[in-house]
């Protein structure tokens, strides 16, 4: 087993963890805004870690670049969409969660 493989394993497992966290957040957090928060963790970090882990395994730089591109695109979309949803929720007066 090579170093790259070990790295990949760690990164992938980390990504998986963040995805799990995101999911748990989605399920457990009480309102839209907080769930949004959980979601972005999964998007950004979870996918990021997985992409990185896989990029290490990639045969070529181009392939790795494509992987990174995918991540970037997801980041972009996630950010935009999160903003839009939060903004829309505010505009529609979706209530904040209060303890």
């Amino acid at each position: 087993m090579m170093l790259a493989d070990i790295l990949t394993i760690i990164l992938l497992l980390g990504g998986a963890f963040f995805f799990l966290a995101g999911t748990i957040g989605l399920l457990r957090f009480p309102d839209v805004y907080t769930r949004l928060h959980a979601l972005t963790k999964a998007d950004n970090v979870g996918l990021g870690l997985i992409v990185t882990g896989l990029a290490i395994q990639a045969q070529s730089w181009a392939a790795a670049g494509k992987l990174i591109l995918i991540w970037l695109l997801v980041l972009l979309a996630g950010a935009g969409v999160s903003y839009l949803i939060a903004n829309g929720a505010l505009a529609r007066g979706v209530a904040f969660w209060k303890r």
Binding site: L73, L76, A77, G80, Y83, L84
Partner: protein
């Protein structure tokens, strides 16, 4: 590798059952919006399933059309439906109870179960190995002008089907236009973040579209996928409020819509005259012909999907905005 097979099987089983469960929840829930979201999810899982079935082309098509564009279409349609239907005005749309009698439901269910059983039996009776046409495809691939078999089938071996397919697309836009009163106005209100998003995404989409078109000759991708991405780009533009040109009146748009099928027909006629057979490309020029066809088809497909999206629900947008 035995373990891999086991896990893969587990994955496949999981995927399959979730597909079925999703479909069940989607079709038998009282909240239409939930159904739509579930449908989008269903599309995602379908794409994964296609991948598992070693059908990346289909996965691409599903990802763009099945999940992406159809989802957007459904969203928009549902939005408009809500403006039209008072019973759906509240966020939690209440459906009228099905008039269907309970007993009828059970009868229908019984029949469905029986049908499922019968079909399943038939499917299981199929031989576990069958070459299908793969040998034929592979043996003729060389003279098709492309190296990717799916593209070869779509644009060469069964190009006539694709020709008719283009006609279906043309028909769909003709149909939507003739059914819905067309509104030519695009959106005017925009949002800054969305603008940035669109500005970033659009060029990438177009690039990816071109990439998929190009790569289609030897790898998964091709006119349909590329065209759908192009259409998606257009949809994004529309959604972001870019004032698009007059869709219905513009001859340019019409030309773009027709370009694909027209190219097909022109080529068909040409080959008919030259080669004596419909869409029979000379081997030497096959690649060029296919690329030409694909390019024009991509333009047409993209435009068509965009026009379908716009055509079916522009009016709702206006009402929605006035609501805002």
């Amino acid at each position: 590798m035995e373990a891999v097979g086991l896990w893969q099987s587990a994955f496949d089983l999981m995927l399959g059952f979730s597909l079925f469960g999703l479909a069940w929840r989607m079709l038998f829930c009282a909240d239409l919006f939930k159904s739509i979201v579930l449908f989008i999810t269903f599309g995602l899982l379908m794409a994964i399933a296609w991948v598992r079935l070693e059908a990346p082309d289909v996965a691409l098509a599903e990802a763009t059309i099945g999940a992406g564009l159809t989802g957007a279409l459904l969203m928009s349609a549902f939005a408009k439906l809500r403006t039209l239907d008072n019973s759906l005005k509240s966020g939690q749309p209440l459906l009228p109870r099905p008039r269907l009698h309970v007993i009828n439901f059970w009868i229908a269910l019984l029949f469905t179960v029986l049908l499922t059983g019968g079909l399943a039996y038939a499917v299981l009776s199929l031989p576990s190995h069958s070459p299908g046409l793969s040998d034929a495809v592979m043996s003729q691939l060389d003279s098709s002008g492309v190296t990717h078999p799916v593209t070869a089938v779509l644009l060469n071996f069964r190009g006539y089907d694709t020709l008719l397919e283009m006609a279906v697309l043309l028909l769909s836009i003709q149909s939507v236009w003739s059914m819905a009163g067309m509104s030519d106005a695009g959106e005017v209100h925009t949002s800054p973040v969305l603008n940035v998003l669109i500005q970033l995404l659009s060029p990438v989409l177009i690039l990816v579209s071109a990439y998929l078109l190009w790569v289609g000759a030897h790898a998964p991708g091709g006119a349909f996928q590329a065209g759908s991405i192009l259409g998606a780009a257009g949809v994004l533009l529309v959604l972001s409020g870019r004032p698009l040109f007059n869709l219905k009146k513009s001859w340019l748009i019409r030309l773009m819509l027709v370009a694909g099928p027209a190219a097909f027909i022109a080529l068909a006629t040409l080959t008919l005259i030259n080669e004596g057979q419909l869409l029979k490309y000379p081997v030497a020029n096959a690649a060029n012909y296919i690329l030409l066809l694909e390019t024009l088809a991509t333009v047409s497909i993209g435009t068509t999907l965009l026009a379908l999206f716009v055509g079916s629900q522009t009016e709702a947008v206006q009402q929605d905005q006035s609501h805002q």
